[in-house]
Symmetry: C2
Subunit: 303 residues, 2 copies
């Protein structure tokens, strides 16, 4: 059994050390592979083009938080996405930053600052602001806990409603009830056939007038022109986006220049190399022991 890493030079060094310490066989590049039959695991963002070279491949391990970009894998090859506390905490940090930025009117104050305007606006208590989280997986739950501890009223929506302490949760069939009470909507959904393009004119129209949008899911979930229409019509007051359509956002895209929109270049999560390597080791060990693979992706469901 051996793992082939298909990634950046910086990661190679850290993974090499972690695997050496664990006594597991490791190839830092495809060129290093002497006997392709040894390769049972490949860790990558996008796999090498020709996987038929590796007849004993049992699992591909995605090194990011999502795996929607993964091509179909050969029959019998499992897909695992990296489960790392660091990724989840990083996305949580970005989302809490974004929710607080909208809650405290940062886009408005940044716009005033360009003109040197010292003008204050009324501040609301967090407990009067309802934050609706779309996608209540591990990250959504973490966000809900942090915002709940800061006194926000937190609502959660997911395909199957979940019971989470202190969070009012909604199931897939009650999207309208959820949206109508979300003063700030947080997108944390995985990209699937069901969620592609979900953030559109129709969805924005169901939010309370003057709502805020925080999007940390996937770019293809949002119609950027629908966002522009919702902002221009006053249905949305402001938005903070870490994912866009397309990515990268072209330099002349309207969203960069719109004072109501803050764009960051998909920085929500970066897998810590050490944590990523530890996850890969856990996948290898689980395979050897016949235990369930950590982070196993249901490709029919999409996450």
């Amino acid at each position: 059994m051996a793992l082939l890493l298909h990634s950046t030079p910086e990661r190679r060094e850290i993974w090499g050390r972690v695997f050496a310490e664990a006594g597991e066989l490791f190839f830092a590049t495809e060129a290093e592979v002497t006997d392709p039959e040894e390769v049972t695991h490949i860790a990558c963002w996008i796999p090498p083009n020709d996987l038929s070279r590796y007849p004993n491949l049992s699992a591909v391990i995605g090194v990011g938080a999502g795996t929607d970009h993964m091509p179909p894998l050969p029959e019998g090859v499992a897909l695992s996405r990296t489960v790392a506390p660091g990724i989840e905490a990083m996305v949580r940090d970005w989302v809490v930053l974004a929710v607080l930025a909208l809650h405290r009117d940062l886009p408005l104050y940044l716009d005033q600052a360009t003109r040197g305007e010292w003008v204050t606006h009324k501040t609301r208590l967090a407990r009067t602001r309802r934050v609706g989280i779309m996608g209540m997986g591990r990250i959504g739950t973490l966000v809900a806990q942090t915002l709940g501890a800061m006194d926000f009223e937190v609502l959660g929506w997911s395909r199957a409603a979940k019971a989470i302490d202190g969070v009012e949760t909604f199931g897939g069939d009650d999207l309208d009830g959820f949206l109508s009470r979300s003063d700030i909507l947080v997108g944390l959904l995985p990209l699937t056939d069901d969620t592609r393009g979900i953030l559109d004119d129709r969805l924005f129209a169901r939010l309370p007038r003057g709502a805020g949008l925080v999007q940390a899911g996937r770019g293809a979930q949002m119609d950027m022109e629908a966002l522009r229409r919702a902002l221009n019509g006053g249905q949305l007051l402001a938005a903070m986006l870490d994912v866009t359509d397309p990515e990268p956002l072209p330099p002349d895209h309207w969203a960069w220049a719109d004072p109501r929109v803050i764009v960051t270049p998909h920085i929500g999560a970066q897998t810590d190399a050490e944590e990523g390597a530890q996850h890969a080791l856990a996948v290898i060990r689980a395979g050897r022991e016949g235990a369930p693979l950590p982070g196993l992706v249901d490709r029919a469901r999409g996450y």
Copy 2:
């Protein structure tokens, strides 16, 4: 016993209702006062000029979070600052926003956005970032708890070191030890003779190189030119300020235009009118019962 409110029309209405419901005597303006001898309490940001008009005045109640701007009061008149969970939570929210903004390089990404640049930089885990809080009163403690729950390493400095769960605390004589370990320094001190001008060249020089600064104390605590020098020399990477010197910051001040600095116009806390009125009622009742006054300020100490 009666309370005279010396404040804005908007507050008058809410205070009037709260006092009516409590059955306490209330004057919404000085003009409404028919018998000045009835006035035992005055609630205000700055008191009326001539307090000698009110011979039975027992306490002045400051409606903001600080009272450093209050003039000397007549002998025997106590000063109470509004203690309201809402004020504390609002400042906490702003400080957490600012710490996250610096932690996640928001000034850098906002600057890139002005040029439509989609360029990512390495993200750090919160647990690798040390946040040093200067001023561990009620707000500082709340900030420490929230940031600690988000995995930041939290340090606290106050005149007398305090024991707070999960926070490494330093006393007044160990400022150097505290500063040398603060990757992000948070200013939450009250304004006193000891803290006036405390954020100067000498203090910035003791921080780790490339530190961030969050300032939510009082404008007069910082030498703005020292901040500029620390930024230009690379000792500080970025700063987020809610208080400045002077206030308001003039439209042509360098800080507005500096991409490394985010300025908000002293919006950290606004006393919720309802909470402010409830605090005033608590002061009146404590006086009547001979109990300790809520929010009593030690004017020699300054807070």
